[in-house]
Amino acid sequence: MSLIRRLVFGVNPRRTAVRILVLAAISFATFKWLLIPIRTEGSSMLPTYAPDQIRLVNRLAYRWAVPGRGDIVAIQMAGPHVLYVKRVIGLPGERVAISEGAVTINGSALTEPYVKHRRAWDVPEVTLGPAEYFVMGDNRGMSVGDHDFGRVDLPRILGKVVF
């Protein structure tokens, strides 16, 4: 009996209670403000992310850095509860176009090893503004009309999807 009690409450129950409280507070703060858990929906990020998976968004990733090409980012709509999850394709100031499904940046073809299926999408060239990024999902096997992609302003990027 005393062994079970010692395993549950520790040698010093007061100290154990404080430890639990600290752990609970740190967990709450971490998953509320730093690493936000999200559940993926839809097929636009296949095959990298399947639907109904739990992922984490690092909200501090772009506090002292800027998104890089290939980063998977969470983009907020009216608030942080519904997010787009997309990959950064184009960086500020770049010219992005899609021809026969192939992405070009400033006229050069972009290598995209994460894209497994590709349809012949055609998107006219756009020049990104000083704080604009071009984002797309990895599933290019969808119809172009069913896939949300395009330019996004930096303040809308909530963080980097890390797991």
Binding site: V18, A78, V152
Partner: protein
């Protein structure tokens, strides 16, 4: 050491409690949020209740002003007038799939005088196929110009926002 840990834990708990209190405190935008949630409830109910199609459409129409305008963007022409909206709602045939609408992240900015408000929200549309059970989700961002007419908050201008341009 123990005392220091306890102080840190108490401070974090107080911070969390303050954040919770701020998000829970009622504000002047609450009646508008409730009105929008009531609209979503009516939309969701309309696919399953036994009300006649026309009565159902009229009930939904009451959430809009007489000269309401709904612009869904993406090249679609704006829908103008409550009567047009009622007509469209009446023609909806939810036979093959159940449809549900949910509003998230509703922010309300009241205009001076309290008779109008600008609302910004994300609308989630969830379609569930009755035959296959498959579920698909679509989300869109909207701004809504709300007006207080006959003591009721009504949607005057609904405009889709392109999150990705």
């Amino acid at each position: 050491m123990l005392r220091r840990l306890a102080i840190v834990a108490a401070a974090l708990a107080a911070l969390a409690a303050a954040a919770w209190y701020i998000t829970q405190t009622p504000d002047e935008g609450d009646p508008i949020r409730k009105r929008l949630q009531a609209f979503a409830y009516e939309v969701n109910n309309s696919t399953v209740d036994g009300l006649g199609t026309e009565a159902r459409a009229a009930k939904l129409g009451a959430f809009f002003t007489e000269d309401a305008e709904v612009d869904l963007g993406r090249g679609a022409a704006p829908i103008k007038g409550r009567e047009t909206l009622i007509g469209m709602a009446g023609r909806l045939q939810p036979r093959t799939s159940a449809f549900s609408l949910r509003f998230e992240d509703i922010t309300v900015a009241m205009a001076p005088g309290g008779q109008a408000a600008d609302v910004h929200l994300t609308a989630e549309f969830i379609r569930r196929s009755i035959t296959t059970g498959d579920q698909s989700l679509d989300a869109r961002e909207f701004t809504i110009d709300m007006r207080r007419v006959e003591n009721e908050w009504r949607m005057h201008r609904v405009t889709a926002v392109d999150t990705l341009k």
